[in-house]
């Protein structure tokens, strides 16, 4: 063997490391990433820098932005500081988005993996259950779930997770159906790997790329969902979220635009950030797009 003398051994790179490099070349992904970092920084450092309690009444109600230095972005219908609300609301909104996303992904992967791997009767049964959840109007179903229990931030996340997993399950199932017949799965069997090992250690790592993309998008959708529920008055009244701000300001949309528009813009930026990151990841994981 003289191959080593002719050309040197290439530097080894994990596929994820390569994907990260491709991600850095996607402007959408980088922009989204910057937006998200800014939002996260604001949500967690903001309350410490600007130490006003969002529930506290600081000035006259419905003061427009710029009228007073006490509340630079104005006040809502109770006279609470909008800026404090924006800073405090981020954490709750992100929390709901992330935990609902996590629940969605977990249920979706479990159901999809078993359905796709085992096929046959298991697949039939799991897919009928999935379809049952898919045909229910999601927002209505989530409203029912939240009303059944006390609307806490956890119940809201769980309700969003429970109504949105079918898409992930279908995606996972499709990936598993595709991968389970590939040669390296057969090869894994032939060295004596058991089913569970093949599902989680052989197939899942290879199915992960589209699932990560879908997870980021799911977080964005979950944040919108939370805003929707809060707007309808079904959010957690004790957790200050952007959705709650929009919900409490909805009767003053016409006479005090800042009470709903400002938290709306924050939600818009956050969801945009997650979507752009999702786009960037999609490009990064798709080798066909990399060369462009």
């Amino acid at each position: 063997m003289s191959a080593s003398e002719i050309h040197s051994v290439p530097k080894s790179q994990h596929p994820l490391v390569e994907a990260a490099r491709a991600f850095r070349q996607s402007w959408a992904g980088v922009l989204g990433f910057i937006l998200l970092v800014a939002i996260i920084f604001m949500a967690f450092a903001g309350p410490h820098i600007y130490g006003v309690d969002p529930f506290e009444i600081v000035w006259a109600p419905l003061t427009p932005p710029g009228d007073t230095e006490t509340a630079p972005l104005g006040t809502d219908y109770l006279g609470r500081d909008i800026l404090a609300g924006l800073l405090h609301g981020g954490a709750a909104t992100l929390y709901v988005g992330l935990s609902a996303g996590l629940i969605t992904i977990t249920i979706g992967i479990l159901v999809g993996a078993f359905a796709g791997f085992y096929g046959g009767a298991v697949d039939e049964m799991l897919m009928r259950v999935t379809e049952f959840f898919q045909v229910l109007p999601a927002l209505l179903f989530a409203m029912v779930l939240v009303t059944l229990f006390t609307p806490s931030i956890f119940v809201v996340s769980a309700a969003i997770g429970v109504v949105s997993w079918p898409t992930t399950a279908r995606l996972t199932r499709a990936e598993f159906l595709k991968i389970r017949n590939l040669e390296y799965v057969k090869a894994a069997r032939s060295i004596g790997a058991k089913n569970q090992r093949i599902i989680w250690r052989v197939i899942l790592p290879n199915a992960l790329a589209p699932l990560i993309v879908s997870a980021t998008l799911t977080i964005g959708v979950a944040i919108l969902f939370e805003a929707g529920l809060s707007f309808l008055g079904l959010g957690d009244p004790n957790a200050f979220s952007w959705g709650l701000m929009i919900g409490s300001g909805r009767e003053h949309i016409l006479d005090a635009w800042w009470t709903v528009t400002l938290p709306g813009v924050m939600i818009f930026i956050t969801v945009l950030g997650f979507s752009l990151v999702g786009d960037g990841l999609n490009d990064a994981f798709n080798p066909k797009l990399r060369e462009r």
Binding site: M1, A3, S4, V9, P10, S12, Q13, H14, P15, L182, E183, Y184, K186, A187, A188, R189, S190, I191, G192, A193, K194, V202, P205, N206
Partner: protein, 330 residues
């Protein structure tokens, strides 16, 4: 000598839309310790299915092992519990596949994949398994194995990946290695390297190899004995020398004359490239007679009416044909 692996009267059926396809029809084969058994035949004649049956990897459904036995030592692989089967695969019997480009998991380092097959069967630490996998890579002729072990499959060439597959399959010193057309997807030069490697390792470790191929060159180069398969039947078995120099079955003769001879001048009766007319019949439409009869120049009424059994003609050589005299006279 008693056989290591013994297949007896194995019948495998596949349910298809066109009806029941009997992909393996009462085949019997023996593998002796330390030998290389070649299984040869056209595509779709049951070579790979034989291998998958031994590994217990026949896709069920639509496939089904209807009857027969596959004995390794004193265990019938068709009857052992799944748990035991997991222990046997990789440890007692392993397999290398046709497509080195797709038979390694793209998201793990090759060293980890070899280590995995050790960790599944032996009680060793991860570090020990890694060390052994580097040693295996050296053994299969990968230069700078310690560095190469950290590579991912896409960073290697096809020949190298097939070497990795071989390392993976041999990591636990199996008694039997099944090589399912291990060189079909590779360049001719790399093919020769892989053959040499297999031969070398076989002499080193004494692992018995079942070599599945449709390449007569590979048969000549590597095997001790050959089984020729056609449409789910074993139609001729014997030592490689017997089969290559004194083939009895018209199909075997056809296969051998399909290899172009550079040194001989082509003539009208013996063109440069000969072929066997027709194709392997659909397995759902096999008649009562000899499966090869429709393509056979020696076919007679007996051939069409009844299927010949595999009959011993010498101690080692068996063939299933009614018209041996006519065939040998030619």
């Amino acid at each position: 000598m008693s056989s290591l692996l013994s297949i007896r009267d194995l019948v495998v059926d596949f349910k298809t839309r066109a009806g029941n396809a009997r992909v393996l029809n009462h085949i019997s084969l023996d593998v002796y310790p330390g030998e290389v058994l070649g299984i040869v035949g056209e595509s779709g004649c049951g070579k790979s299915m034989t291998a998958l049956s031994v590994m217990g990897l026949v896709p069920t459904p639509p496939g089904k092992i209807t009857s027969g036995s596959i004995t390794l030592g004193d265990e019938d692989l068709l009857k052992v519990p799944t748990k035991r089967l997991h222990q046997i695969r990789g440890k007692e019997i392993s397999m290398i596949f046709q497509e080195p480009m797709t038979s390694l998991n793209p998201v793990f380092r090759v060293g980890d994949q070899i280590a995995e097959s050790i960790l599944l069967h032996e009680n060793v630490t991860k570090a020990e398994a890694w060390e052994r996998s580097v040693k295996m890579l050296e053994k299969v002729g990968i230069p700078e194995a310690a560095i190469r072990a950290r590579n991912y499959p896409h960073e290697m060439s096809g020949g190298m990946r097939q070497r990795v597959m071989i390392a993976m399959a041999l990591a636990c010193n199996p008694k039997v290695l099944i090589a399912d057309e291990p060189t079909t997807a590779l360049d001719v030069t790399v093919q020769a390297q892989i053959f040499d490697l297999l031969k070398e390792l076989q002499q080193d470790t004494g692992t018995a190899i079942i070599m599945i191929t449709h390449d007569m060159g590979a048969i000549a180069e590597l095997t001790d004995r050959v089984a020729v398969m056609y449409a789910g039947h074993v139609i001729e078995t014997g030592s490689t020398k017997d089969i290559l120099t004194n083939p009895h079955h018209p199909y075997t003769r056809g296969l051998i004359s399909c290899v172009p001879h550079l040194e001989k001048n082509p003539t009208e009766e013996r063109p440069f490239l000969q072929e066997i007319p027709g194709v392997v019949p659909p397995l759902t439409e096999l008649g009562k007679g000899c499966t090869f009869a429709p393509r056979c120049q020696f076919q007679s009424n007996t051939c069409l009416a009844d299927r010949p059994d595999l009959t011993q003609i010498t101690a080692e050589h068996s063939v299933s044909c009614y018209n041996l005299e006519k065939v040998l006279a030619q």
